[in-house]
Symmetry: C2
Subunit: 218 residues, 2 copies
């Protein structure tokens, strides 16, 4: 079994590997966990002892298969709990992350299996992120940042890149939620902002917004 701290390190390394497929540096882990590089070195050495990461001094770290599966399982729990909170307990998508950060560490295989079944085996969490299966596999859907769409292209809003509470609340205010159809009406060269159509309304979105919204092209 792993401590909370070990689980958080595993999850951080897992996420870093997913969006870089390179060896993960001490510093990048420190940045992600808002801790010091020296603390990371300590923990990495322990995780290496426990055979969840492969580590050579100064060479960064990679997850072993066992480590990756362990990490995926934590992410699985995190995302299933987020679905539960939204679907069953009337949480909004900007409120669930912090609670899920706690709930993901609860140790009970039966509990998470039952939550999964209770929710009807969801495949994605409230932010559009895929839920790893029990073996740790996740099927990613084809999705593109809104900022990469051309004029007149359209698609369905399927996820967010930034899932901070601020961004999510902003989207709520603008009426942008997952599942909505979006069409790019204009692209401004000047500031890379977009004029989009959503719910038969025109909405102007900055490049910052557009580079944090995932669209499934159609």
């Amino acid at each position: 079994m792993f401590t909370f701290s070990e689980e958080n390190y595993l999850k951080a390394i897992y996420h870093l590997e997913l969006d870089s497929d390179k060896v993960i540096s001490t510093n990048s882990i420190a940045k992600k966990l808002e801790t010091k590089a020296s603390s990371v070195t300590d923990m990495i050495q322990k995780l290496s002892e426990k055979e969840v990461v492969v580590y050579k001094k100064y060479q960064g770290v990679t997850l072993t298969d066992f480590g990756r599966k362990t990490a995926a399982n934590i992410v699985r729990k995190h995302r299933l709990w987020e679905v539960f909170l939204v679907e069953k307990l009337n949480f909004s998508w900007d409120e669930v992350h912090d609670v899920a950060e706690q709930l993901e560490h609860i140790k009970s295989p039966k509990l998470i299996d039952q939550i999964d079944a209770f929710l009807g085996f969801p495949t994605h969490d409230p932010h559009g992120d895929p839920i790893p299966d029990k073996e740790g596999n996740l099927k990613t859907i084809e999705k593109s940042l809104l900022s990469t769409l051309s004029k007149n292209e359209s698609g369905i809003c399927v996820g967010v890149n930034d899932s901070s509470s601020e961004f999510l609340k902003f989207l709520d205010k603008k009426g942008v939620t997952l599942g909505k159809q979006i069409t790019v009406l204009e692209k401004e060269d000047f500031d890379a902002s977009l004029l989009i159509e959503i719910d038969n309304n025109k909405l102007s979105v900055s490049n910052k917004i557009a580079s944090n919204l995932y669209i499934q092209r159609q």
Copy 2:
């Protein structure tokens, strides 16, 4: 905020106070938490600093109002989670305690309020124990140990004194569950065993069983 360890100490003291209404000794806490008296002294001093207990060297400990409310809230969470696991996730009453021991430490007022509402504001947990309200008050129902009933008395099974998995599984096997009507047909002087009627069946129960089952007389 309190650490897991502090919360467990608070809960232990709370339970000890409930079934003794005396000042609580260092040793009794150590026994309940399966730890050493010296560790208890350390922790008690910290809890005293935090003003959740009143402590004078060698004089034992009592909860302050704030401490009692804090402890009751942990028990509230524990029991609501137990109800959730049984009612919504198909756990049996002998499986829920260990998971609830973890879940009771999750910090999110909204979460527990929503669970409470989702469950329809239950008043008792799967073992018949009362669920403290948000102010920490618990209303206890009139109940007696089965062993205290006389011949020909009857009542409803409303709780267990021992909620170990072994005892609960044993009760399941014998068909004894909360809500069932029980009538005492015979009391044996020799070994204090009882012959009871339940579901139109006769069942012989030892004194050990009878002193761990709560009955609401009728």
